[in-house]
């Protein structure tokens, strides 16, 4: 069956999103109700899930924009959706509907004033990877260097803005009841729209390239500024394969554990030392090599951490809330924000205990090594997120951190990695924080609608 292409305009996209929402939620809720009262057999459940996931993929695949991103968000949460749906949604990550070579070339020329073949020694007209908002082509520079050229779909920013407007209307009831604060939507909007500006991503790449230099096993693409514009990003080519291909090679447990440890260290390193996080940690953004090296790509969505995340993780590792009211207030304040009433936030302590218990086992004889293959952490986090929404304690600061965290644990789960989380955290926590931050304003950034880049302090 041929997928209809996306419809431009708020109304058409609204109708499509609405159709997806209504048809899926309607039927899913109906199924849940049926299940509660009548009970269901497994076969019917699987059939239902497959039908739903096909519908999800068809609708999301033709929408691109926000829905595509939401599709990715969902697919990252492997425990939050049925397996059949995950299989379908996984396709969305690396198989976005592509631009043909003529359109990709036209976008390149509109952005840089020349066709790719005038800039590069060679340029592959067929993309080798799909990015959520564009696609990536291989190229060879004039000096023979291997390059990856990310080209954005035309008018994707407008499409995203349309979807976000729609999302704002659709979430009105939840915003009125306080289950979905408007500030979360603002944060989501900020993150998504930032991703559409490749100049901003180039800033992020340079920042993380310098910031992660101490982790010798991590490669971050180097930006070629002379061939980069708002919708074209040219960077060095990072070798490696994505998770699925890596796992197909049946890597030994030792290598999987090593990579798991490194991915976790990379995560803590960003939080603690850089106070900035690559927030789109879905498997397509990690490239693995047989020697355990990791390539981290796609820095469109970056979260600058404004709160003391080190104290938070230390608090979780030591269960500081048990030491007294002040310590509990401190940790809960960091997680749920100063605006959330303490009494309400306190209800989350039980879930926090469980999560901390999995990540940082305590007590005599407890195995310090966490088996991510069990996936219990994802389950707990999924429950915690549901509870946070129900209890109205969601914190916009965590919108992208949670997304990244889920992505990380999902990756570790699929790697079936066993990692001593406490040891990794303590190793990272011993490092100095690189902050405080400077946010210099340059002409390019003033032009780029006032967005400010992340810059590592020189001292």
């Amino acid at each position: 069956m041929v997928n209809p292409p996306p419809q431009p305009g708020v109304l058409a996209r609204g109708l499509r999103l609405g159709k997806l929402g209504l048809s899926l939620t309607g039927s899913y809720l109906g199924y849940q109700a049926q299940n509660l009262f009548l009970g269901e057999n497994e076969q019917r459940q699987r059939r239902f899930q497959e039908e739903s996931s096909r519908r999800v993929r068809r609708e999301l695949g033709s929408l691109k924009g926000v829905a595509m991103k939401l599709g990715q968000l969902l697919s990252v949460q492997t425990r939050a959706l049925p397996e059949a749906a995950i299989r379908e949604l996984a396709g969305l990550q690396m198989q976005a509907p592509g631009m043909h070579a003529t359109l990709a070339r036209a976008r390149f020329k509109a952005a840089l004033g020349k066709y790719p073949e005038e800039v590069f020694r060679t340029f592959e007209p067929e993309p080798f990877a799909a990015a959520p908002l564009g696609q990536v082509h291989r190229a060879v520079g004039r000096n023979g260097e291997l390059l990856a050229v990310k080209i954005q779909y035309p008018a994707i920013r407008t499409a995203l803005e349309n979807d976000l407007r729609l999302l704002r209307s659709a979430t009105l009831p939840a915003r009125v009841t306080g289950h979905f604060p408007g500030s979360i939507l603002d944060e989501v909007r900020r993150g998504f729209l930032e991703e559409t500006d490749y100049l901003h991503e180039a800033d992020n790449l340079e920042f993380f390239g310098r910031g992660l230099r101490d982790l010798a096993y991590v490669s971050v693409p180097q930006v070629r500024r002379d061939m980069t514009a708002e919708c074209v990003l040219t960077m060095s080519f990072i070798p490696g394969v994505v998770l699925d291909a890596f796992l197909e090679g049946r890597p030994p447990a030792g290598l999987r554990n090593l990579i798991g440890e490194r991915v976790l260290e990379l995560f803590y390193f960003q939080l603690h030392r850089l106070r900035a996080l690559q927030a789109d940690q879905h498997p397509g953004n990690f490239l693995f090599q047989p020697d355990g090296r990791i390539g981290l790509v796609d820095f469109g969505c970056v979260k600058r951490i404004a709160f003391d995340v080190t104290t938070l993780i230390r608090g979780c590792a030591a269960r500081s809330w048990r030491q007294g009211e002040a310590q509990a207030r401190e940790v809960l304040g960091l997680i749920f924000g100063a605006r959330t009433p303490y009494a309400r936030a306190r209800k989350m302590l039980a879930v926090l205990e469980v999560a901390a218990g999995i990540l940082f086992p305590e007590g005599r004889g407890a195995d310090p090594v966490v088996d991510f293959g069990k996936g219990e952490l994802l389950e707990v986090l999924g429950q915690a997120m549901g509870k946070a929404v129900r209890d109205k304690v969601t914190n916009p600061e965590f919108a992208f951190v949670s997304r990244a965290e889920l992505g990380l644990y999902s990756l570790l789960h699929r790697l079936d990695a066993k990692v001593n989380v406490r040891a990794v955290w303590e190793r990272v926590a011993a490092l100095e924080v690189t902050g405080p931050w400077r946010w210099p304003e340059t002409t390019a950034h003033r032009k780029a609608k006032g967005r400010k880049p992340l810059v590592l302090p020189t001292s």
């Binding site: 292409p5 003529t102 976008r107 919708c231």
Partner: protein, 222 residues
């Protein structure tokens, strides 16, 4: 510029053979190049015939012999562009292997790309074309002749796609429909103020994919 009938006849006459005809064609192109350059820099309405003739290195009177009106200049410009695009398309082996949406996209995009520097000029031509007595009107004979060449070219592209089984036979109507669509895209492009005219690119891409998908699904029956 004047609108005398005798001068119009000179401009409309097809290029003859021999050295004289060659020189005439050379002069025409030099005038067109000079005019387009000035249109791009100063705009259509602010460009004088004096400036064009000076830039082309000919006497103002000679200019009128070739192009009595700006409409004649525009007609010649479109003739040249169409011939250029048909020639360019024939020399693109990769496009022959591409899908129909990409082929049609490439044709329209190439056209828009060539028009890009002369947006002001094209806008003015559009306004003129709305006047029934204008030579640029779609109903005028010179416009009809050019349209026929264009329609034959598009019919050929569609017929190749049909022969390859990509779409069902769409006949002459398919070419007419695409010509109307092409006109609509140019109109949209003229008022598109987005960076790099990305809205036009998106519209063009989506419409062509949608139309091809519909044709594949049910021919004209959908």
């Amino acid at each position: 510029m004047t609108t005398s009938a005798s001068r119009t006849a000179v401009a409309a006459r097809p290029p003859g053979r021999g050295r004289r005809a060659e020189n005439k064609e050379k002069n025409r192109r030099a005038i067109l190049r000079a005019a387009l350059d000035l249109f791009a820099r100063k705009g259509f309405f602010h460009t004088t015939t004096k400036a064009i003739s000076r830039k082309a290195g000919i006497a103002e009177g000679t200019l009128f012999n070739y192009f009595p009106t700006k409409e004649d200049l525009a007609l010649y410009f479109f003739e040249e562009e169409l011939a250029g695009i048909i020639g360019w398309y024939g020399a693109q082996p990769r496009l022959k292997e591409a899908g129909l949406p990409e082929q049609l996209f490439a044709i329209v995009h190439r056209f828009l790309e060539r028009l890009g520097p002369y947006e002001d000029f094209i806008g003015a031509v559009y306004l003129r074309a709305l006047q029934p007595r204008s030579k640029l009107s779609p109903l005028s004979l010179p416009s009809q002749e050019r349209n026929l060449r264009y329609l034959r070219f598009i019919r050929g592209v569609l017929a190749e796609a049909a022969a390859a089984g990509e779409i069902p036979e769409v006949g002459d109507l398919g070419a007419y429909a695409f010509a109307l669509f092409h006109l609509a895209v140019i109109t949209y492009w003229l008022q598109d103020r987005s960076a790099g005219k990305e809205q036009t690119l998106a519209l063009l891409d989506r419409c062509l994919k949608l139309a091809t998908a519909m044709l594949k699904k049910g021919g004209w029956e959908w």
